[in-house]
Symmetry: C2
Subunit: 256 residues, 2 copies
């Protein structure tokens, strides 16, 4: 078991390059969205208006790469295992490190990996960890509240479990308000407009055992999907599942 | 007992012009800060970084005066009993209505009046209501986390009660996370840098009875005090204690 600084150092050195689920257990993980300052106010308003998919952990000063609140000393250009670079909404690269500009603003947004330690500690299944794959994520027909140029559907992550386990998981995750909180939905993918559980829009499919139902949580891929749809000149994000590991305790609200 | 729409209509008609404490019990009240769009991103970052004094209820689209999330149909130019207008950080007017511009962005921020119904229902004293005066508010030496051009000290509101009552009040107000939550401090004004309880920086002094101690909560006057210190070209706020009454249930987090 390594702490967050050790995990980030290993990532920076190229020794870790996969999804970050189960790394640095007990610490908050974060989604990354980086946008030019011209888009930053509308995007921050979008996050504030949609706190379930977009719980804000930290907004950096324009041009800054060091998250002084959630991980002092870290460098957002190198400390995530995989990035996605979009130009005018098109994915153009998936590098292991990224360049920066003075007008770029980085947003760190809570991630459901943060509550998986608590699920495991309660004896609940986390199937993508059992299968050693990335968590499955799906675009839904649930509309986010728009803000300025940003609007679009919510993305959810899914973990299968029994209905009894789902109730237990809801109680546990409800207190993780900076990591998407309680499930949005239990049981019926079609209620969210999801056609095929075995074909996630992001990440990998997982097995659903007899007696289990899919349990869906709001997902921090939402803001990057919404931002990409608005075709900003430049956007940098983490690759889905390849998160930024912060120094923040899993139960903390930053600045709270 | 009137609902929020009736209270706003009476204010708009000039029939109510004092502090709004105890009006529309059960509904959330809000602090107002209005700034030019050029200052809005830094100010929103300031609020996000300081959620105790600055819990955001709604950020309106630039130029808009209707809070479509928290009070559809309301008009922020007329529906507060008293405003303050600042130019370059100087208070220039305290009108009952204000003009608007296309580049103005309105921020609605949670207010501790929201939890006073729950304090009264629990048999706890709310002294400014007993004395029919405005709540006392004080600048402290607690620094907010800076963001861009915005930085400065936290402002607190104060309600005297016994230490036993203070514990009870802490338990009740902790769940009002969009209305400043639990107290910041109980008992020692000098710990916050407050020299004289009988000379508040905003509002009115209240009596402290034998056996009572001052109980301090983060206050939504903080953002207007901080914004004024940065001397924006124009800023419009509510007059302290003269809040915007929303349609939001007292216990709700908007968009939550």
């Amino acid at each position: 078991m390594s702490g967050p600084a050790e995990v980030r150092a290993a990532i920076r050195a190229g020794e870790l390059d996969g999804p970050t689920a189960a790394l640095a257990p007990g610490f908050s993980q974060a989604n990354l969205v980086v946008l030019p300052e011209a888009d930053a106010f509308d995007f921050l308003r979008f996050c504030v208006a949609n706190p379930r998919p977009c719980p804000i952990l930290e907004v950096l000063e324009p041009g800054s790469v060091e998250p002084v609140v959630t991980a002092p000393g870290a460098d957002l250009r190198t400390d995530l295992p995989r990035y996605r670079v979009y130009e005018h909404g098109e994915l153009v690269d998936e590098p292991a490190q990224v360049a920066w500009r003075d007008d770029l603003v980085a947003f760190l947004i809570g991630c459901s990996f943060t509550f998986e330690r608590a699920l495991l500690a309660a004896g609940l299944p986390v199937r993508h960890l059992q299968q050693d794959v990335n968590v499955p994520m799906y675009r839904t027909t649930l509309a986010c509240r728009p803000a300025g140029r940003f609007s679009g559907p919510m993305v959810v992550s899914m973990r299968p479990m029994t209905r009894t386990q789902a109730v237990h998981a809801a109680r546990i995750t409800a207190r993780f308000t900076s990591a998407h909180g309680a499930p949005l939905h239990v049981g019926d993918p079609s209620a969210l407009g999801i056609a095929a559980l075995d074909a996630p829009d992001y990440g990998d499919p997982v097995e659903i055992h007899p007696g289990e139902v899919p349990v869906f949580w709001a997902c921090g891929v939402t803001p990057q999907a919404v931002a990409a749809a608005s075709r900003p000149e430049l956007m940098i994000t983490h690759a889905p599942g390849h998160m930024f590991v912060t120094d923040l305790d899993e139960g903390d609200r930053p600045n709270g």
